[in-house]
């Protein structure tokens, strides 16, 4: 058994895997130890051994696939990748197909990684940051896979010239308006900025969220399927979710109207008359409570 210790990045794994392939090391002869694996007595220094020579051809598509799947956090994170690579190089092309035992696991991981990148794009919540030297917007996020570096460019496209950062318990990204900086260990300063108390602006969002919910259609299962529980605590609307559900379930609402509006004094509108429709526009209607309507 060869233990290969590396820093946990795809680039170094790729070098080590290349070397192992050229040495003809089969998957079962290898143990991959990334930065999270505890040090072991039998660790062999990877350096020292002479660089094996030879040529290996692996398509860029397969490398892309492996690099994405490497973002998956979980058991056998690196050994599955090596097994797929090994089998592929041996001529077993089905190793990368979803119908194959290894390929199926590979695709499950790719899907989980894609889904987590999508979660990042969907559920990150930026907050304006007024602290001097801090970026314009900050966010705290806890992704389940290592998707931050590859998936964050999306926000540079969204936010134009604004600067922003996303801090996580592990890594962090900082966009200064021109460049994206990724730190595998998130600086404490970034984490502190990202964990500022909530600002006043969130109240507007919560008002919207509560109102756009239709209590007559309560459906917790579907909701949780799309918005897993682990994200609730970082969303400004998170605390509102159980409250809205219990209000709807309590049956106070038999129709779709938001509870805060139920029973409020309303305004019926008189039927329009022929002549009124052609009324010239008045100058002072904008924003008034009863615009444009014949009384």
């Amino acid at each position: 058994m060869h233990s290969l210790r590396f820093d946990g990045s795809f680039a170094t794994w790729r070098q080590a895997a290349r070397r192992a392939l050229l040495q003809g090391l089969a998957p079962h002869q290898l143990q991959w130890l990334d930065e999270e694996a505890p040090p072991s007595l039998f660790d062999q220094p990877a350096e020292g051994a002479p660089e094996p020579s030879g040529r290996l051809r692996v398509s860029p598509e397969l490398l892309d696939l492996l690099e994405s799947a490497a973002q998956y956090r979980g058991d056998e994170r690196w050994s599955l990748l090596y097994r797929v690579l090994w089998r592929f190089v041996q001529g077993e092309r089905s190793a990368v197909l979803a119908g194959d035992p290894d390929g199926s696991e590979l695709h499950r991981r790719l899907k989980a990684v894609r889904r987590e990148a999508h979660h990042l794009h969907a559920f990150v919540r930026f907050q304006p940051c007024k602290i001097p030297d801090a970026p314009d917007f900050v966010a705290w996020f806890e992704p389940a896979h290592d998707i931050l570096a590859s998936a964050s460019g999306h926000f540079a496209e969204r936010l134009g010239k604004h600067s922003w950062l996303i801090a996580t318990p592990r890594d962090g990204v900082y966009w200064d308006g021109q460049h994206l900086q990724h730190e595998r260990r998130c600086p404490a300063q970034w984490q502190a900025w990202a964990q500022q108390p909530e600002d006043d602006g969130q109240a507007l969002w919560r008002a919207y969220y509560g109102s756009t919910f239709n209590p007559a259609r309560l459906n917790r299962t579907v909701m949780q399927q799309h918005l897993p529980l682990r994200f609730w605590k970082h969303l400004p609307e998170g605390p509102l979710i159980p409250q809205l559900m219990s209000e709807a379930r309590a049956g106070a609402q038999r129709d779709g109207q938001a509870l805060v509006l139920a029973g409020r004094k309303g305004k019926r509108i008189a039927q329009i008359n022929e002549g009124d429709a052609a009324r010239p526009p008045s100058a002072s209607v904008s924003g008034s409570d009863a615009p444009d309507l014949p009384r």
């Binding site: 089905s94 979803a98 119908g99 194959d100 035992p101 199926s104 969907a122 919540r125 930026f126 907050q127 304006p128 917007f137 999306h154 926000f155 496209e157 969204r158 134009g160 010239k161 604004h162 507007l204 008002a207 919207y208 969220y209 109102s211 756009t212 919910f213 007559a216 259609r217 309560l218 459906n219 917790r220 579907v222 909701m223 399927q225 799309h226 918005l227 979710i241 809205l244 709807a248 038999r254 129709d255 779709g256 109207q257 938001a258 805060v260 509006l261 139920a262 409020r264 004094k265 309303g266 305004k267 019926r268 509108i269 039927q271 009324r279 526009p281 009863a290 615009p291 444009d292 309507l293």
Partner: protein
């Protein structure tokens, strides 16, 4: 009135429109540019409300004052609800603020009819124009189109909006006459036609101005009248065909406060709505026709999904040999989707398909089993009658959570 109060009223007023898509827009980016916003064709759901519906756009009305008296609508003029009106600037502020916080991917703006159809449409356009021109907003904009608005206004809306939609509201003209007396099928179709023409011109002529690149959609309310699913699906099919709609949304009629006697005061028919969406998906993505899904008058089965219903009614087509059949036919097998069908195609170019492969592709084997043949598997009960199969395969009768 405070902004937060207006928002509370005008979001409540807008939520009965089911559309929330933020997909289909061309690629736009603000990287290194003034302004904000991007689109890449994919929609993003930024949150979900406890009704299981996604929040992708800020969905609000400009105002819920309305001259019309559509019986199914909470904002009808005879409804006793609080009323409010945003200024265009307020809508712009809210959109930009929520967008920067990453709460939304854009705006879906509609309005009650005030003063006239043209005037209302002009107000909606003004908001979109402000966002696009003054603030260089490149996020998603969906504008509701007022059916009777002038074609020039629809053309102008198409300059700024990614998507336009005119609601067909009810599946038949009779129902529309009865429940929405101020609306008119003719002008609804006319507006859809104008949008369709605008789209076509923009696509065919290189110099033509940009026009609603994410196309148009519509919404049909289900359960406010007695129309059956067959009529609804055939209607949807002609809308897809005639105006190249991207989506038809089905909205189970939700009871509204102080409900008029003309519409039911019952829990929204959620399961029926779900089946209609499934059937609609089969028409858009699987090449099924409305007649295949529902030959005669009537409703879709509630206990089984429409694909299974079709398979049970067409046993002569089955079992399908996964090692030989066309991918399009494989995709018609219950429990096997288009993606799995494509993957089976890729796999069988390498080797023969075995039963195990379906497990790995995460097909719904319970449903697929009676309808397939693989190298190592043949359905033992292929001769079983459809009635018996249906008993075995029906969804657990758990009704969706109601009150």
């Amino acid at each position: 009135m405070q902004l937060i109060e207006k928002l509370t009223i005008l979001a409540d007023a807008a939520k009965y429109d089911a559309s929330c898509a933020s997909s289909g827009a061309p690629k736009r980016s603000s990287k290194g540019k003034d302004g904000i916003g991007s689109t890449n064709g994919m929609g993003i759901c930024h949150s979900y409300t406890p009704d299981g519906r996604c929040v992708a756009l800020l969905k609000i009305l400009l105002t819920n004052f309305c001259l019309y008296d559509c019986q199914y609508c909470i904002n009808r003029r005879s409804s006793d609800v609080p009323r409010a009106r945003f200024t265009p600037e307020e809508v712009v502020t809210l959109t930009l603020d929520f967008y920067k916080r990453n709460c939304i991917s854009g705006l879906f703006l509609s309005s009650g009819i005030i003063r006239s159809a043209d005037y209302t449409m002009e107000q909606l356009i003004r908001v979109a124009k402000l966002l696009r021109q003054e603030h260089q907003f490149r996020g998603y904009i969906h504008l509701k189109t007022i059916p009777d608005a002038a074609p020039e206004l629809i053309a102008e809306a198409g300059l700024y909006a990614d998507r336009l939609s005119v609601n067909i509201e009810l599946p038949t003209e009779t129902s529309l006459v009865r429940l929405a007396p101020e609306k008119n099928v003719g002008s609804i179709h006319q507006a859809m036609h104008s949008i369709h023409l605008g789209e076509r011109e923009a696509k065919e002529e290189r110099r033509a101005p940009r026009f609603a690149p994410a196309g148009q959609s519509t919404q049909m309310i289900v359960g406010a009248d007695a129309t059956d699913d067959s009529t609804i699906l055939h209607n949807a099919q002609s809308l897809y065909h005639d105006y190249r709609l991207r989506r038809v949304y089905y909205s189970a009629f939700s009871p509204i406060p102080q409900s008029p006697k003309t519409v039911p005061f019952e829990a929204p028919p959620l399961l029926r709505e779900h089946r209609l969406y499934q059937a609609d998906f089969l028409m858009r993505g699987y090449g099924f026709s409305a007649t295949e899904l529902l030959a005669g008058p009537g409703n879709l089965a509630l206990d089984i999904d429409p694909k299974l219903a079709w398979a049970l009614a067409n046993r002569a087509q089955f079992p399908v040999d996964l090692n030989r059949a066309d991918e399009s036919l494989i995709a018609r097998v219950p429990g096997i989707g288009v993606l799995s069908a494509r993957r089976l195609g890729a796999l069988r170019r390498e080797r023969r398909i075995r039963y195990e492969d379906l497990t790995r592709l995460r097909c719904v084997l319970e449903k697929a089993k009676p309808f397939i043949v693989t190298q190592d598997y043949r359905p033992p009960r292929a001769e079983h009658e459809s009635v018996v199969l249906r008993q075995q395969l029906r969804d657990t009768p758990a009704q969706m959570a109601l009150w």
